[in-house]
């Protein structure tokens, strides 16, 4: 299916969940409301005309100017061959969203990475721990306003 058809199908299913829809350009996607995330994810995976069974990536992007953290979910269907993406926008001060690990188990490690490096909390995640940084590392390094750590466990870093 083309991105336009996918967007129409999504809007027909639940018009309230779609905030913004971009059908053309290099990155066709929809922005959905964070409350409906799991429902939309489940629809994208189980609907027979869509069948997005492979979650490729979850990318977190920090936008201090818009005061939001954006999560982009990139999908592809191994049976139908089409690709699509959706985004959710979270409050930068307290980014919280439901985990989609129940829909795509592949999400678990991507969500741990977003938690580790961007500080997004995923509700109902079975094992939300830091994944790349040490457990006691201060802050979330991929935030745009992250300050380099001067000292960690007796190690001093030059600025």
């Amino acid at each position: 299916m083309t991105p336009l058809e996918i967007i129409e199908l999504l809007k027909k299913h639940d018009a309230d969940s779609v905030v913004v829809a971009v059908a053309d350009g290099p990155y066709p996607h929809v922005v959905i409301t964070a409350e409906k995330l799991v429902k939309v994810a489940d629809f994208l995976k189980t609907e027979p005309r869509l069948r997005f069974d492979l979650l490729r990536c979850i990318s977190a992007v920090d936008w201090p100017a818009k005061n939001s953290i954006e999560l982009a979910y990139d999908l592809i269907s191994t049976s139908l061959g089409h690709a699509f993406a959706f985004k959710v926008l979270l409050d930068r001060a307290d980014p919280q969203v439901e985990s989609v690990g129940g829909v795509w188990p592949a999400a678990q490690w991507h969500e741990r990475e977003a938690f580790d490096l961007m500080g997004v909390t995923f509700l109902h995640h079975p094992d939300l721990r830091r994944i790349l940084m040490p457990e006691d590392w201060p802050g979330h390094p991929l935030r745009k306003d992250y300050q380099d750590v001067a000292e960690y466990r007796g190690l001093k870093f030059k600025p």
Binding site: P26, R56, C57, S59, D74, W104, A106, I131, P134
Partner: protein
């Protein structure tokens, strides 16, 4: 008492000789980060009951070099050398994925000769990478000889790389807009000689390793990953195809004129045991090398004269926007989520390393394996920690 399931070696428990309800004290066993069969700095904490693994928890991050943070500080062209160091066994494929992502966002066209040369180098690197995977997997299983053979062939590919770009591993040869410079005179002939030589050697690997009785016993019916589990955990590359799913981005969403070439997607058949076991994942790599040779031959035939580089400014600016681009790497789909705000460096670059996703299935496959089978399992997933940790 809990019935112990030993799907990896069903006839280990003989009726009457060893009671099946015997329990020993559970111990925690730390494997890695420095361990010969974890292929780098992977640490796995195993909970074991005797020889049986009950739970495996991978700990990663020992090779975290902040590649994504660095990308926000350097220009687009300066980031190419960092992509070499993601999956350091397939630098050409990483360069290609990054270049294609930037080119898609910037709307940059590449001359045809560069496209064919990109395919040739990407497939040569796929062979080199699979040779390391196969050789070191034999080493994990106690067979030293195949490693020496596979490194002998790989050395020739490294020589071809060195002749073209001066580097063996950190190539940075495929750059934004094409490739860095044309191949030297006589290179195409050398490449053809290598293909003729290499094709005759594949039978050696099969005789030495693939059909070796001990090797088959160690890998068949071990770490079985069904197709639906593989897709659910985002496995790609030989790990997914080993489970019988014929999914390859070179066919599904062709890039770099891959649609012009005639090749097959090898999938696991369960020939020596169950579909999706370690042997299937291993053997898909052997079959893929044969297909890579086919692709390179066709690309060499199509190679036309012409420029190899589109003119791209040294400090380039991309229009504000987002792109997600994936290529089929030797280990699976390497993805770049590139966000530009119109400046001279990426606003955000998220890298999806195929090994990162492939490794996430380890805690699911490891329970009920024997301790010695963990090496077989990790080796068959074929992780490179450089792109797991980035």
């Amino acid at each position: 008492m809990k019935e112990i399931e030993l799907h990896s070696q069903p006839d280990l428990l003989h009726d009457g000789e060893v009671p099946s309800d015997i329990r020993t004290e559970e111990i925690m066993l730390n494997m890695g980060p420095q361990h010969p069969s974890t292929h780098g700095v992977l640490r796995v904490v195993l909970q074991t009951d005797g020889e049986l693994v009950l739970k495996a928890t991978p700990y990663i991050g020992y090779l975290h070099r902040c590649a994504e943070k660095i990308a926000e500080k350097v220009t687009y062209r300066q980031f190419t050398p960092y992509t070499d160091r993601l999956d350091y066994l397939s630098a050409m494929n990483n360069n290609l994925g990054y270049a294609l992502a930037v080119e898609k966002l910037g709307g940059i066209e590449v001359p045809p000769r560069a496209d064919y040369l990109r395919v040739i180098f990407a497939e040569l690197n796929r062979i080199a990478s699979h040779l390391v995977a196969i050789g070191s997997y034999g080493l994990d299983m106690g067979a030293y000889t195949p490693l020496v053979y596979s490194f002998r062939e790989r050395e020739w590919i490294m020589d071809l790389f060195e002749a073209a770009c001066g580097a063996r591993l950190t190539c940075s040869y495929i750059t934004i807009g094409g490739i860095r410079e044309d191949v030297p005179e006589g290179w195409v002939q050398q490449c053809r000689e290598f293909l003729d030589y290499f094709e005759s050697k594949i039978a050696d690997y099969n005789n030495l390793l693939s059909y070796n009785h001990i090797f088959v016993n160690r890998t068949a019916n071990v770490g079985i990953c069904p197709a639906d589990l593989a897709v659910a955990y985002g496995l790609t590359g030989p790990c997914l195809r080993g489970s019988g799913v014929a999914w390859d981005l070179r066919k599904a969403t062709p890039y770099c004129r891959y649609n012009e070439f005639d090749f097959d997607i090898p999938v696991g058949q369960g020939a020596n045991g169950t579909l999706g076991d370690c042997w299937d994942r291993y053997f898909v790599r052997v079959l893929e090398m044969v297909q890579s040779v086919r692709i390179i031959r066709q690309a060499l035939d199509k190679l036309t004269e012409g420029p190899v580089q589109t003119k791209v400014p040294r400090i380039m600016k991309l229009p504000a926007g987002v792109v997600y681009y994936e290529v089929e790497n030797p280990r699976g789909q390497l993805g770049f989520h590139l966000v530009s705000d119109g400046g001279t460096s990426p606003y955000r670059l998220k890298i999806r390393g195929p090994s990162f996703c492939n490794l996430s299935v380890l805690p699911v496959l490891a329970p009920n394996c024997l301790l010695a089978d963990i090496a077989a399992l990790i080796g068959s997933i074929d992780v490179v920690m450089g792109e797991v940790d980035r």
